[in-house]
Amino acid sequence: MPLVGTRDLTPILDRAPLMPSLDTEQWALPGARILQVLYEIDDSAMLSLLPRALHPTIPPTVFFVVTHVPESSVGPFTLAEVRVGCRSAMRPRTFLTRAYCDNAAAVTELRNRWGYPVEQAEATLQRYYDRAHGLVTAGGRDLLDVSLVNPEPISGSDVQYLPNVNLARIQRDGAVVPRLIQVDPDFTFRSADRGKPMLTSFVADAWELPGCEPNYPVSASYTVADVTMPKLRFIVDPNKGPMEGVEHV
């Protein structure tokens, strides 16, 4: 059967959000601008980045996603994520261990309601005629500098975003346990571009992805979409096998 992850998540659980509840309502985020850049990564980290519950993609991949939300109930914010391409059993997913957001209230919303392992940092997404540029900085360092270069219009229906599985913690029978929180937002596209992917800076350790070395650019897209954050439907025990740990919310 397919390869499975070997990662022990224990060392990074302390910073994962402790969710007060899995019963959340939808959240409308109209007019969001989304930069997604996909790279293949060195296969030496193919298994060590993922827990036992997840299979790596073949080839192994990493998704850089920077989203700017111009209006929301907590005001505008920019969220940056670096996700590892994976499969939860046979479902295409992306695994998130660390994200950064520039709005403290949005950090709280995302951590508490959707289990995003997100912390506050400077994050921006700029659109120019020749490129879209995402930048995350903290402590004077560029944690991520990623771009789409030479955008060309495509149809929004040509773009496919894969659901997240976010590393979080929940209360279960009086104990705190790790769970992967499946988040599959709904997207209604207003426009979409495709272009050349360019990764200028990526500090893997700052994203809890030691050994993750992007080595082959695949694609880059930039969309404007009305995003609806969903109610939660599934969570996964990261320490069980891929077919064994899925739970309905």
Binding site: M1, I58, M90, R91, S155
Partner: protein
Amino acid sequence: MKFGIFYEISVPRPWEANTEYQVYQNCLEQVRLADELGFDQVWAVEHHFLEEYSHCSAPEIFLTACAMQTKNIRIGRGITVCVPQFNNPIKAAEVAATMDIVSGGRLEFGTGRSATWTELGGFGADPDETKKTWDEWVRIIPKMWTQERFGYEGRAFSMPTRAILPKPYQKPHPPMWVAVTSPGTELDAADRGMGSLGLTFGGFAEQDQKIAEYRRRIRYCDPVGSFVNEQVNTVNFLYCHEDNEVGIKTGMRVTGTFNYLAEQLLAARQAYPSRSYPNLGLLPALRREASSPAADGGAPEGTAIGNPDRIVEVVKKWESVGVDRINFLLNANETVPQQEVLASLRLFAKEVMPKFADKRQPVAAPAAGGA
């Protein structure tokens, strides 16, 4: 109705020294038996880098071995990837013609363009280009086979005039097919006078509509080859057992394993936004339909698993919607022991095939001709 077998050649981990050898030997043994039992055709895919799912990167070699070990069964390249980073149209024409000669005129020539980033990226192919290069190749390859000398000035391929040799044994050339995975490709097949090598599955109602439209459109086609190959070929799973419950349970294990392996790969659409790839990868509809229980919670309605009576009913339904051929996947990742696979083939040949024998026709007239 004609019956065939279809190979992805999946190889389970752990990959020990003789694992691939043993899987290939099992496949060849199945092909020899299928030939003896009267199956019409054996097809093999061209896939690259698809760990466990398919270790069949040189189908021309495998199919030549099949031809050398059999007498009657036709050999189907399902498919030749018509993308320049994978293959070259001259070489594709030459290899196909040679296969046709050494098999004594038994080649079926399938064409396609790959559906995964795993493969397209591995070869450095541009996903936006594959449909265009496929279209160009299917127009020129039959000319390479039939013209004494051939020269061409095209968009993605050009060559000065040369004699492309050898020529196929079948005259004017082997039947040509298109792998149909994306919606609408069956219409591309019809418009070009090519057979629909249906790697999708769909429900009966959906197929009924698609086949009717294929039949309507092909009447007005501009054939790329020297003749129209109006045939609808589909892929299915086969596990036939005297005990219906055992047959369904084992068959579902095969379909589930196949589906599971296919999803580990990176579909072109998931990696690269392009209107060139509207589907979700490898045999998506086949996998969806074959994994979904029927309304009564039993086996999927169109999947040929169970006892002979159930499989006869399934095949009759496919026949009723206009399918000409069904090719069966017999195993996935060696989930079913070889002796059980062979027993399933024998039981199918004994109990199911005779029910359709009176309607079986010889292969397409041009294909049967030979030199």
